[in-house]
């Protein structure tokens, strides 16, 4: 019922306010409704039938909050340049479905439909533009669909497909299921060797569609709700292998970003590298899991904000290569400051959320994997260098007066970004409050 009301409201708003307000208001709506529901104890069993089971549990609440806020910060870019298509709306609805799914059937149903839509759009683009960009996405998703299909088959055989997540019996979690589930989670997050579909996806979609799809963190959801509580079944060596793969992925994206001169590509690589570090954290103990949750919030908010700023600038200032220094801080002082601050909330600068996150993740990881925990520090150091490279090349340096720019920064549009950055700084200044809030969820 709740989902139905939410969807009706969403479509009404979409109809009445077809432009940026859609994102602002729908995001805000999800936020408020989720909070009210949780406060009044309606936190469970939002909609339930034999097959369709939705739930607003603490995990999905946090993810939906991040998702809503990430839509809100897109205001700066969406107001002027972006009219959401039906495709974007479909992706948003499907993402909400993935977040609120409470059994494997609903989760995979929404996931398959979402990826199916993306694949269809990619194929159309490939045909119309005669481009080969998208091949990796299609190829790797063929493998991904097989993994997901096998996982569904296993859960159907063991009678767990339609059961709510918290009622799935222990017998379901044997090593075969766990391994398949984990591989699927890694595939969803583009961890090596399933990493090649991500650039195809990011560079063929507009950033908002990409952000909406990736923000659901479907890999995280399936991992946290299903696999993590029983991860001891996997054994230490396998977990170590996954840590190594995640670290490799992060380093891979960082290096790729350092060697690229395209603004959007470098920034996307930075985000991917950070996400890979979050997956690393999920292999550690309770402390690093808390770090992963906080990282989810920090990246979930700062990455869309940075991408939105980048998208705004790319349309205001028609240069996509950072090979010469662009010096945009001269024209956009506040945007550049915000971009810098959002970067700080991602790379571990003290007094921001990311410092807390890094401390938790590193200490949690070192506890379980002393040597590879230290490699995490190396990977995050590389990410820091990559961020500064992007920031310096994009915003600093000589600005050629002859260059044309079309749009000035707007105080009103900056407001959501400012609110979010204050939130992330508060998270860094008073982490104990956030840890207290998230602790029951992690526990």
């Amino acid at each position: 019922m709740f989902i139905f009301i939410l969807l009706v409201l969403f479509f009404l708003i979409a109809k009445l306010l077809p432009k940026f307000n859609l994102f602002f208001i729908s995001g805000f709506l999800i936020l408020v409704v989720s909070y009210v529901l949780l406060s009044f104890g309606f936190a469970h069993e939002l909609a339930r039938s034999e097959y369709f089971n939705f739930d607003l549990n603490p995990v999905s609440l946090v993810v939906s909050l991040v998702f809503s806020l990430s839509l809100m910060v897109s205001l700066i870019s969406t107001k002027k340049f972006f009219t959401p298509t039906i495709y974007t709306k479909q992706l948003i609805i499907l993402s909400v479905g993935i977040i609120l799914a409470n059994n494997l059937f609903v989760f995979f149903l929404f996931w398959f439909i979402q990826r199916g839509f993306i694949m269809r759009q990619l194929i159309e683009k490939m045909k119309s533009k005669s481009t080969e960009l998208g091949s990796s996405f299609i190829f790797q998703h063929t493998i991904g669909f097989s993994i997901a299909g096998y996982f569904i088959y296993l859960s159907l055989m063991k009678g767990a497909l339609f059961l709510p997540f918290n009622k799935i019996p222990m017998e379901f979690f044997d090593s075969q299921t766990m391994l398949t589930g984990l591989i699927f989670a890694f595939f969803s997050h583009g961890v090596i060797p399933f990493h090649r579909w991500l650039p195809d996806f990011l560079f063929t979609q507009n950033w908002l569609d990409a952000s909406v799809t990736l923000m659901t963190r479907s890999g995280i959801l399936i991992f946290v709700q299903l696999i993590y509580p029983h991860s001891q079944i996997l054994g230490g060596d396998l977990k170590l292998l996954f840590v190594i793969l995640c670290l490799l992925t992060s380093v891979y994206w960082s290096v790729k970003g350092l060697m690229d001169v395209k603004c959007l590509k470098s920034l996307s690589y930075l985000v991917l590298a950070q996400v890979a570090l979050m997956m690393t954290a999920l292999q550690g103990d309770h402390v690093s899991l808390m770090g992963a949750y906080m990282q989810l919030i920090a990246i979930g908010l700062s990455a869309p904000a940075m991408l939105a700023i980048q998208s705004f600038l790319e349309r205001s200032f028609p240069l996509t290569s950072m090979a010469p220094y662009l010096g945009l801080a001269k024209i956009y002082p506040k945007l550049s400051t915000l971009f810098c601050l959002f970067g700080f909330t991602m790379i571990g600068v003290p007094l921001t959320a990311s410092h807390v996150v890094e401390d938790l993740i590193i200490n949690g990881l070192v506890h379980d994997f002393p040597v590879f925990g230290l490699f995490h520090i190396l990977a995050s150091c590389l990410n820091g260098i990559l961020f500064f490279r992007i920031f310096f090349r994009y915003f600093l340096g000589e600005f050629h007066e002859a260059r044309v720019f079309y749009h000035k920064e707007d105080e009103f549009e900056l407001f959501p970004l400012l609110m979010v950055i204050i939130f992330l700084i508060l998270m860094g200044l008073f982490p104990f409050a956030f840890i207290k809030f998230l602790n029951p969820l992690v526990a």
Binding site: S135, R196, E358, I362, G397
Partner: protein, 440 residues
Amino acid sequence: MIQLIFYTMVSIPLLFALTLGLIFFMNLPLPEKILSLVARWLSLIVFFISTYLLIGFLFFNFEPQSMSLGHWMHLKSFHFDIDFKLDRLGILYAFLTTSLIGIILKFSKNYLHREAGYFRFILLMNLLMFGLFICSFSHALDLFFVGWELVGTTSVLLISYFYDKNQPVKHAFKALVSYRICDIGILSASALAHYSLMTTHFDDVISQGPTFWGHSSLGFIIGLLLIFASLAKAGQFPFTSWLPTAMEGPTPSSAIFYGALSIHLGPFLLLRFYPLISESYFLLLCIGSIGLFSAIYATLVGRTRSDAKTMLAFATISQVGIIYFEISLGLVELAEFHLVAHAFLRTYQFLRSASLIQDFFNNPTVRDNIFVKRSLSIEKFFPMSFRRRFYLHALHSFHLDFLTSRLLTFTQSSVSALFRLENLMLEGEKFFVKNILRIK
């Protein structure tokens, strides 16, 4: 009472910086005159507080005090506490900070008058001061890192103060890379201390005794990591090359960072951990050799440079190298004295360097003699051909930059080769999509 004074001193720069940040985003008008006045008055208040505490420690036998603001983070066995310790070394560095930043703020009132970035300069100076206070008084490695990183970040942002020119930005990035590499040391040391001792609290770590630090491999690794962490900030070998190029920022920031406060954080870290490091002769030997080598290297290279600020930069590296050497010999009090004296002298020299050349040229009595004669009698013992060749190598910084760039090029080409291998996989995927799935 002392606690209240202490917390006031530490919080003033942070609150002022946060206020300035809000003023910036709210577009509130703040005339330069008022900004400068408030900044100087606040720095004066902080200076008086630090002087009071220093006098108390030096002449009235104030006892070292531990203060705690409780857990900043606490989760199962992991805890990050905000613990401070007010002791002689901490207050000495804090006094150095407040006095020099006060001087710099006074100097920059005229020097940066009507500069577009004056507001930013004041904001970053206050963040720097806060970072240095955290470093001075932190009682655990975790908290020390907070200050350490703040100093590094503000330092990089001040090198790129003239952000509308390419060169300062390039040099800021170079400094940043050095900083980030060495930050691995301090972060790893902190993580390993948590892992092995469940704490990074200085007292708890020291109480583990010489057995852990002198003979266990983990203690030894933590010591090595701390030494490594100190190298970039102190501009010691092999991280020497960023310092002379970092002089692109305005003179006051060069003075405060590379003459006085930031560069001495390296030796300060070693002095803080001296009771631990001194348990291992090998670690002391490491510190001594790095210091001595850097001092000789910087002296030789500095003598081939022709501009005042670069010469001062190499002279600074050289002196900090000597401080390292003193620490390795166990002359801790001499090193502390050397550190303070050197910081004051270098600040004066950096601030003076901007107007020095002009003064020389305008002064008829020294007009023909502005080139300082730089030769040592020892040089005469070597044949001229050797001296020339040696000079040439020194002029090229003994090819350190060249070797670094070669290493980077090698890494880049290796990585590119790996990416080319990956392109083969892409071709396979394209083949699959085109010929098997028949999508064209």
